[in-house]
Symmetry: C2
Subunit: 250 residues, 2 copies
DNA sequence: GTTCGCGCTTGATCTGGGTCAAGGATACCC
DNA sequence: GGGTATCCTTGACCCAGATCAAGCGCGAAC
């Protein structure tokens, strides 16, 4: 558990250039509002495996994922852990109006975050309806995603759980790349088998077995342990048990 | 599935008198803002078992639970169902900016709701930061509760799940009654064994068995099937696997 | 009263996924 | 090259909770 590499970025890039600008909290902001945000903004980078904050710790910023993936995790005293959110680029981290983090936030891959100092951000939220409104919208989306995931955790079989996770990653990945929706989807799994298990309420052995089974049945192709090809997204969605939409994202 | 008894209430009571006024969406509203809400407000009552809206149906209002309990439920094509939220008095129903309901909303007990016509409510939200801010706060609370529940669904044993549910109901019930925190908690379960199972990702048989086990072990007392006494909340929380806080509410 | 129906309990048995344990495949470092 | 650490796979066995099935308790309708 090393903690270097977490210094403020020097080349304070401007919001306008930000790749996730139009999907993040500031999506609706006017030029002058962006300018104000600029004042309290800074970038931080984390390497894979680094912890951004521990549950219960003071958190003096909020922010958005710019690139990479972070996960929110809850742990019981006896060590059982459950991932409760997967934060992809443009997702928001932190809760205005609360000082302590409610979950462990961990960089699952190399991670770049755009942070805002919490106090001034909270003040801005009261004065800038655009921010509060956008944040409400994003929070409602996350709530839907969390509820979708409750169905996965409560009622789906191991195979369906894996298929659900793969389809979420595949789809989010596809929209990020703005790739044409046609043709096989290809991506690298950003999660270890253990992280997948933590997200799905399974053990890593079961994840491994079901991945092998989906591969054997031709639902996915695997090259190495992480490189995945989905020849037929419809088939995968069927396996996930929700023929239609495949779910939102946390 | 009968649908009567769902007419607009005649005695349009004023918000000031509303028992949940200070905890609901309008908690922060000034007198003039309340007055404006008054214009688009109406009450609806539902009897136990009635469906408020079906998933996918048009929903032309948003609102708050005034009394009784409603549940949000998701169903898979093959009939597996998962309750994804339990709405208690003051909780908000509906999503501004979306027309179709995302879940089945069902009155679990007799239910009174304070509804606002959606279109004007959405307009007010843009003009009245107090409403958007309060709604954001409530949505963040619900998101926390949903994530808390993901841990329950993903990692807890049947016994822990039951204990978790009972402690949530007990605590929410206690705060509603403003009862002193000391002494045994007493309440009537507002859910059938089947509804409990749907919330916990279990079968009703398992729920029944674990209720019997908790009774046998003196963690709870049962009088009839629904009347519950918690002699020692600390003990119950221990059984739930979270010694400290027992969780938030959806 | 009797009968019906619904919500619940309890027992017997089955099974999906957990647990324990033994390797295999890469990648990195010396 | 060999050593070793990390991540993953696969097998053998077990158990918590699902499934199948029978019956109880109690209120409502007659």
């Amino acid at each position: 558990m090393k903690m270097p590499n977490d210094q403020l970025s020097q080349h304070t890039q401007h919001c306008d250039d930000c790749p996730i600008r139009h999907r993040a909290v500031c999506a609706r902001c006017e030029a002058d509002e962006l300018e104000a945000l600029e004042e309290v903004k800074y970038y931080r980078t984390f390497e894979a495996g680094q912890t951004v904050v521990w549950s219960g710790d003071q958190m003096d910023f909020v922010g958005s994922v710019v690139s990479g993936i972070a996960s929110l995790t809850q742990t019981m005293e006896d060590g059982r852990t459950q991932m409760v959110g997967l934060l992809l680029p443009s997702d928001f981290v932190g809760r205005p109006g609360r000082d302590a983090a409610a979950y462990d936030v961990v960089a699952t891959t190399e991670l770049v975050m755009c942070c805002f100092r919490k106090k001034p951000f909270e003040r801005m939220m009261l004065e800038t309806p655009h921010i509060a409104q956008r944040l409400l919208e994003m929070t409602l989306d996350e709530l839907d995603a969390a509820r979708e995931w409750m169905l996965v955790l409560g009622r789906k079989t191991a195979r369906e759980k894996i298929a659900s996770l793969l389809s979420i990653i595949a789809r989010r990945d596809a929209t990020l790349k703005l790739a044409g929706t046609k043709g096989p989807l290809v991506f690298d799994l950003p999660l270890t088998r253990e992280a997948m298990a933590d997200y799905l309420g399974l053990t890593l052995e079961t994840v491994s077995r079901q991945m092998s089974a989906l591969k054997r049945d031709g639902v996915i192709h695997l090259e190495g342990k992480r490189h995945v090809t989905i020849p037929d997204l419809g088939r995968l969605l069927e396996e996930a048990g929700d023929d239609n939409d495949g779910g939102l994202m946390a």
